[in-house]
């Protein structure tokens, strides 16, 4: 059964980096404000998250990089991507940056 057009679920985790810390967030569209929902839908669409070819992460041996683990469940489609700073197409960066900002805000609230 497909999800409502307005509904999505996101699991996001960032690991590694110089500090080696982990941040993560779980987002349900029904718990976000309308502005955030619209922003995320647009960023997911613009990144081509569901259309992008599977990318082999060849950069795991790159010291101190951030690694990103993202699962998005939207309109009945579900996909998980593993990205890192060295392998990430520029199209994904706005989405990643937005998710990092939401994660930071949620940690402080």
């Amino acid at each position: 059964m497909g999800m409502d057009q307005e509904q999505f679920h996101i699991d996001f985790e960032r690991t590694g980096g110089f500090t080696g810390g982990t941040i993560r967030i779980e987002l349900n569209s029904e718990e976000l404000d309308p502005g955030q929902v619209e922003a995320l839908k647009e960023l997911i669409d613009r990144s081509g998250f569901f259309e992008a070819f599977a990318m082999e992460n060849k950069f795991l041996n790159m010291p101190d990089q951030f690694h990103y683990h993202i699962t998005i469940d939207h309109v009945g489609k579900k996909r998980t991507l593993e990205l890192s700073d060295g392998s990430m197409p520029d199209l994904f960066r706005p989405l990643i940056n937005y998710l990092v900002r939401l994660t930071r805000k949620s940690r402080r609230s």
């Binding site: 980096g17 110089f18 790159m62 101190d64 951030f66 960066r93 990092v100 402080r108």
Partner: protein, 378 residues
């Protein structure tokens, strides 16, 4: 001739040949130079041994620093904003990257005779202002990259300052480059934790050298000043007391262990490379403090030669302990105070260095040495 070269390549470490270059007779020096040149050729691209033959080149070598500005984008390297010899730019991040990479080059050149990251005079490239709100620094295989912290957050919520603010972070990243050209330790599990630890060790040594600090006077903190005042922290990591660098309601407690009894088995962070590095970090601290003086002169030298000549991609903590112990014996003599300090340092973190594998072969080595180089007094 080939057999002889093979034989000496397997027995005589380059730092021993270095001592002959410094102290031997003219005839011994000539033979040592020939050995080093041939041995270096045999080891191919990594060229660990070429440090010795390039000592004069390194001394005459020049730093070539280039600092770029990503202007908050992600294109690397970005726009060149300061080159070698140019005056301060007025941009703190640019000038810190420039000065920090220079101090790092100087430690490696002046203390260990190394000519830049690849020992071939490679340009030191740094990019600052990478993206917005990028709270990280990394080595991408070719250059160093620094973010400005979480400057995109309101000031009262910021956790990180810019990543060039701490000179040991700059030296840490540059050392990842050196490790890549030497042991090339795989960035996972214990090999990855050693990779991290070597970066912390030499990061701290660059900081101590700039501050003209003896081992006993240093704070042994990594990333001091990186956290903002909003965080309850004294640094990112403590080599002296792993696990005590921060304890904050938002970030939690520093998870680093300082003893094998507390080793953390995890799949996160590439198998805990930034966590378990606390164990070899602490071992180095113990060695350096027991030896006293400037930490780069003896402890740093032992660690540097171990990284360049003894370790490989899959080395683990035990291999690092055995190798530093062996190198200390070769550099300073069996049962020397230096070798004892290395033993004690690893023992303090729960790792006993294996006995010198060359025990009993001393006579053979001496005989081989004399057959090649002759008597030291000849």
């Amino acid at each position: 001739m080939k057999n002889i070269i093979y034989q000496i390549n397997g027995i005589i470490p380059p730092h021993m040949a270095e001592r002959i270059l410094e102290n031997g007779t003219p005839g011994q020096k000539k033979k040592a130079e020939a050995y080093i040149r041939i041995a270096g050729q045999m080891r191919g691209q990594r060229q660990q041994l070429s440090e010795l033959t390039r000592k004069s080149a390194a001394a005459a070598g020049e730093r070539v620093r280039k600092v770029y500005d990503a202007q908050n984008g992600s294109d690397l390297p970005g726009t060149l904003v300061r080159s070698e010899g140019a005056g301060p730019s007025g941009d703190a991040a640019v000038d810190e990257a420039y000065e920090g990479s220079g101090a790092t080059y100087d430690l490696y050149a002046e203390a260990f005779g190394r000519n830049s990251i690849d020992n071939q005079g490679m340009d030191l490239k740094s990019t600052v202002h990478f993206m917005e709100g990028y709270d990280n620094a990394f080595w991408n295989g070719e250059q160093m990259v620094y973010g400005d912290g979480d400057e995109d957050m309101p000031e009262e919520e910021r956790l990180f300052n810019r990543f060039t603010a701490a000179i040991d972070i700059i030296a840490h990243e540059l050392t990842h480059g050196i490790t890549q050209y030497e042991a090339n330790l795989v960035y996972r599990n214990q090999a990855g934790a050693l990779n991290e630890s070597f970066s912390d060790v030499f990061g701290s040594l660059v900081k101590q050298r700039v501050k003209n600090q003896m081992a006993g006077d240093a704070d042994w903190l990594i990333g001091e000043g990186l956290f903002t005042d909003n965080v309850n922290a004294i640094g990112i990591r403590s080599m002296k007391a792993p696990g005590t660098a921060y304890d904050d309601p938002l970030l939690g407690k520093d998870p680093q262990p300082g003893h094998m009894n507390d080793y953390v088995d995890t799949i996160a962070d590439n198998g805990g490379v930034h966590i378990n590095s606390g164990i070899p970090n602490k071992a180095f601290y113990e060695v350096a403090v027991e030896l006293g003086g400037y930490a780069w002169e003896k402890a740093g030298k032992i660690w540097y030669h171990t990284l360049c000549e003894e370790l490989d991609q899959s080395s683990d903590f035990q291999k690092a302990a055995n190798s530093t112990h062996k190198v200390a014996g070769e550099l300073y003599g069996r049962n020397s105070d230096e070798q004892k300090a290395v033993y004690n340092g690893w023992k303090a973190v729960g790792i006993i260095p294996a006995a010198d594998q060359r025990r009993g072969c001393r006579g053979f080595v001496s005989r081989t040495w004399r057959s090649i180089f002759g008597s030291r007094n000849a």
